[in-house]
C-alpha cells in the first residue's frame, strides 16, 4: 500500500466521523425487542430498547403479524405499560398463536427495523408476585410455629384457565435461604421455629408451566424467647444441687461405718454391689472342696430327685430328626428316639435323612443345618437327591417332579431352611411346627405339632400316594459314597402300604437301623 492510499483512507474516515458527530442527520439505530410478559395468560406487554445513539426526535412503532391472520397490525396501546412498551389487551391477545413483532425506529432521516421477535403468549407467562403475605405465630406447648398465608391468584383460576402454584422461602437472619415448594395452597407452616430468632419469609408463584414470578416483598417475624426454658434450667440446677448434697451425705455416712476402706471402695460398694456367686441348692461347696463329693451329691439326690423337671431338652419324646451341632449328641438322641425316625422305605423324605446321616460323620459348623451345607457346597448331586414324586397331579402311576433346593437361607432362630419348590403342588414353608406325616393321620399330627422343635422342614400336604424316589442318574455318582444305595423305582402301591404301615404307628424307623452306608 502506498502512502497516498493510506492517507486517503484516513481522511475519508475522519470526514465520516466528523459528519456524524456534528450533525444528527442520520437514520436511527436499530432497536432491540427485549422481552414480553403475560401476567395472566389473557393480556401481555412487550418492551424494546432503543439504540443508545438515537436522538430525542426518534419515534417508535411496533408492528406485528399474527399466525392465521393476514396483514400487518400495529400495537394497540403504547402508553399503559410505560415508555418503549406495547400493551396488548384481551381483545388483541390470542393464545397458542404465533406473533411476529418488529419495532421500527423513525426519524427525519429514515427508519430502521429491528429483528423479528416471535412469541407465543402461552410461553411468556410470568405472574406478579403474591400479595398480602401474612405471618403469624402460634405457640403450641412452647413450640413456636410460624404460619404464612397470602392472597391466591384469582384471575382465571375458578374456571380452570390457569393453575397457580406457589413456592416459599424463609431464613433466619444471617443464614441461608430455605426454599419450600407449596403447591396450589395459599398457606404454609414453618414448624419448630427457633425461639428468639428473626425470620424472613418470601413467596413466589407460577402459572401452569410458566416461569416463576419475582419474590414477594420481604416479611419479617420475631419469634420470642421461650420462657419455659428458663424454668427448666432452674429446675435442672436445683436438682443437681440436691443430688450433690445427697451424694455428700451418703459419703459422710459411709465413711463413719467403714473404718479401713478408702472412700472410693466404699462408694463403689454402695453404688455397685457385688454379684453373688453361683450356688446350687443342696450342694455344700465346702463339702466338695474337702473332697467328699459323694456326700454332697447324695444330699442333692435325696432332696430333689433326679432327673430334674427342668431338663433343658424337652424332646425326650422327640420324634424327629434333630439337627445338632455335634455328632455325639445326635447319635445319642437317635438312640433315645428309637423307632421315631422316618423310614427309608417310606420314602417320604429319605434323602434328607440320608444326608443327615451322612453328615453325622462330618463336622458341623455351629448354627448350620445340613441343608445349608447342601447348598453351600453347591454340589449338584446333592440337589438331585431331592427328587419327589407327585402322583396327585397325573392319572398315571407316577410322575417325577424335582425339588430343587434354591435360595436356601437359614431361618432366624431356627436351624432350618426354606426350601423353594419348583413345579410341585406341595408347598414348603419355613419351619415352626414341622410336620412330617400326612394330614390324614390327624392324631399323629396333633401330637407332633405340639412338641416339635424348630428343626424340621415341613410338608404341607403329604399324600400317602407320594413317593420320594432318587434320581436314577445318581447311581453313577461315586463321589459321595456315604449315601445309601439308590433304590430302583418301585410300583406305587407297594410303597404306599409300607408308608401306611410305618406311619400308623406314629413312628418311623430310624434310618440307622436300615444300614445306611
Amino acid at each position: 500500500m502506498t502512502l497516498s492510499t493510506r492517507l486517503k483512507r484516513l481522511v475519508g474516515w475522519a470526514l465520516v466521523i466528523l459528519i456524524s458527530a456534528v450533525s444528527h442527520n442520520s437514520p436511527p439505530g436499530k432497536p432491540v425487542l427485549k422481552q414480553c410478559h403475560s401476567p395472566d395468560k389473557e393480556i401481555f406487554t412487550c418492551w424494546w430498547e432503543p439504540n443508545a445513539h438515537d436522538g430525542e426526535d426518534t419515534t417508535y412503532r411496533l408492528l406485528y403479524e399474527k399466525e392465521l391472520t393476514i396483514g400487518i397490525l400495529e400495537c394497540p396501546d403504547y402508553h399503559t405499560a410505560g415508555k418503549n412498551s406495547c400493551f396488548f389487551d384481551k381483545n388483541h391477545t390470542s393464545i397458542w398463536v404465533d406473533y411476529f413483532l418488529t419495532v421500527v425506529a423513525i426519524n427525519a432521516f429514515g427508519n430502521t427495523t429491528s429483528d423479528v421477535y416471535k412469541i407465543d403468549v402461552v410461553d411468556i407467562v410470568k405472574p406478579n408476585p403474591p400479595e398480602n403475605v401474612t405471618l403469624w405465630l402460634e405457640l403450641c406447648e412452647d413450640i413456636p410455629t410460624i404460619h404464612v398465608t397470602w392472597n391466591s391468584f384469582n384471575i382465571g383460576t375458578k374456571c380452570g384457565w390457569i393453575t397457580p402454584k406457589y413456592q416459599l422461602r424463609f431464613k433466619k437472619v444471617d443464614s441461608k435461604w430455605n426454599i419450600k415448594y407449596v403447591g396450589e395452597q395459599t398457606q404454609f407452616s414453618i414448624y419448630s421455629a427457633s425461639p428468639g430468632k428473626l425470620y424472613i419469609v418470601q413467596v413466589q408463584c407460577a402459572l401452569d408451566n410458566g416461569a416463576w414470578s419475582e419474590w414477594s416483598n420481604t416479611t419479617f417475624i420475631q419469634v420470642p424467647r421461650s420462657e419455659s426454658k428458663q424454668h427448666i434450667w432452674i429446675l435442672v440446677s436445683f436438682s443437681a444441687i440436691l443430688l450433690f448434697a445427697a451424694v455428700c451425705i451418703m459419703f459422710i455416712k459411709k465413711k463413719r461405718y467403714t473404718n479401713k476402706c478408702c472412700l472410693f471402695h466404699s462408694i463403689q460398694q454402695w453404688l455397685l454391689p457385688p454379684v453373688p456367686g453361683p450356688r446350687i441348692k443342696g450342694i455344700d461347696v465346702q463339702l466338695l472342696k474337702n473332697g467328699r463329693s459323694h456326700e454332697a451329691t447324695r444330699a442333692l439326690l435325696i432332696n430333689h430327685g433326679f432327673p430334674w423337671n427342668g431338663m433343658p431338652w424337652k424332646n425326650q419324646a422327640e420324634e424327629y430328626l434333630l439337627v445338632r451341632d455335634d455328632n455325639k449328641l445326635l447319635n445319642e438322641d437317635q438312640k433315645h428316639t428309637h423307632g421315631k425316625m422316618i423310614s427309608n422305605n417310606c420314602h417320604s423324605k429319605p434323602n434328607i435323612n440320608n444326608q443327615l446321616n451322612v453328615h453325622n460323620s462330618m463336622n458341623f459348623k455351629e448354627e448350620k443345618t445340613i441343608l445349608d451345607d447342601l447348598v453351600d457346597t453347591s454340589q449338584s448331586e446333592l440337589v438331585n437327591e431331592l427328587n419327589y414324586v407327585n402322583t396327585m397331579k397325573t392319572d398315571t402311576a407316577f410322575s417325577i417332579d424335582t425339588i430343587y433346593v434354591r435360595n436356601v437361607k437359614p431361618v432366624e432362630n431356627s436351624r432350618y431352611v426354606d426350601i423353594q419348590r419348583q413345579d410341585v403342588d406341595m408347598e414348603y414353608s419355613t419351619v415352626r411346627e414341622p410336620m412330617l406325616f400326612p394330614e390324614k393321620q390327624n392324631k399323629v399330627i396333633n401330637r407332633q405339632q405340639e412338641r416339635l422343635p424348630y428343626d424340621y422342614t415341613r410338608v404341607k400336604e403329604v399324600n400317602g400316594d407320594m413317593l420320594l424316589l432318587q434320581d436314577p442318574s445318581f447311581r453313577n455318582n461315586t463321589q459321595n459314597t456315604d449315601y445309601i444305595n439308590p433304590t430302583p423305582l418301585h410300583p406305587v402301591t407297594e410303597k404306599v402300604h409300607e408308608c401306611a404301615e410305618s406311619l400308623n404307628d406314629g413312628y418311623v424307623d430310624n434310618p440307622h437301623t436300615h444300614n445306611v452306608k
Binding site: 389473557e42 390470542s94 397458542w96 416471535k118 383460576t157 374456571c159 380452570g160 384457565w161 408451566n209
Partner: protein
C-alpha cells in the same frame, strides 16, 4: 355355594350400587366423573411435559436463538381444526370443547404413531381413550348431546389431510405437538371446571 357364584355377586353389587346411587343421585356418578377428569388431566400433563422436553432438546441442539427464528411459520396439520384461543371462547363451549379435544387427539395419532421411538404416540392413544370415557360418562349423565358420538369409536378417522404432516421437519412436528398437547391439557381443565366445579376449581 350360592354366594360364591361370581355372577350372583356381581349382580348383587350392581344392584346395591344402583340403589345407593338412586338414593343420592348427586353423590355417586359425579364423584367418579371428577375422578376420571383428574386422571385424564394428569395424563395430559405428562404428555405435554414429554412434548416440551422433546422440543427443548431439539431446540437446544438445532436452533438456539428461537425467538429470532424468522418470520416463516409453517402451519401445523391441525391448523384446520378450529380451537378457542382465549378464555372467553373456551368457557363458552362445553360440548364443542370435548369435540375439539377428541379431534386433536385423533389427528395426532397418525404422525406420532409412525415414530415408535417416541412413547408419546402411545400416550396420545391412551389419552384419547380416557377422554372418550369421560365423554361417554358425561353423555350418560345428560351433560352432553350426541354430537360427539361419532368420534368415540376407535376407528374414528383423522381429518382428511393431504399427508402434509409427513413433510414436516421434526422441529415443526414437535412444535405443533407441544402446542396441541398444551391445548388439550387446558381444555380438559376448563371442561372439568364446567362439568364438576365443586371438585377442585
Amino acid at each position: 355355594a350360592f354366594y360364591s357364584n361370581p355372577a350372583v355377586v356381581c349382580l348383587a353389587v350392581t344392584a346395591l350400587w344402583i340403589l345407593l346411587c338412586s338414593l343420592a343421585p348427586q353423590g355417586c356418578p359425579v364423584l367418579s366423573l371428577a375422578n376420571l377428569f383428574d386422571r385424564v388431566i394428569q395424563h395430559s400433563a405428562r404428555m405435554h411435559g414429554l412434548s416440551s422436553d422433546l422440543r427443548q432438546d431439539f431446540v437446544s441442539v438445532w436452533a438456539p436463538s428461537r425467538n429470532h427464528i424468522g418470520r416463516v411459520s409453517r402451519y401445523c396439520h391441525t391448523s384446520s381444526i378450529l380451537t378457542p384461543n382465549d378464555k372467553e371462547n373456551a368457557q363458552r363451549m362445553t360440548e364443542e370443547l370435548t369435540e375439539v379435544i377428541l379431534k386433536l387427539l385423533v389427528a395426532w395419532r397418525e404422525p406420532l404413531w409412525a415414530d415408535k421411538a417416541l412413547q408419546v404416540g402411545r400416550m396420545v392413544h391412551e389419552l384419547r381413550t380416557g377422554v372418550q370415557r369421560v365423554a361417554q360418562k358425561m353423555q350418560m349423565l345428560g351433560m352432553m348431546g350426541n354430537a360427539v358420538s361419532g368420534l368415540w369409536s376407535p376407528d374414528a378417522q383423522a381429518p382428511p389431510d393431504d399427508g402434509s404432516h409427513w413433510n414436516f421437519g421434526n422441529y415443526d412436528l414437535l412444535r405443533c405437538f407441544r402446542r396441541d398437547s398444551n391445548k388439550v391439557q387446558n381444555y380438559l381443565k376448563i371442561l372439568k371446571c364446567r362439568t364438576v366445579p365443586e371438585y377442585g376449581c
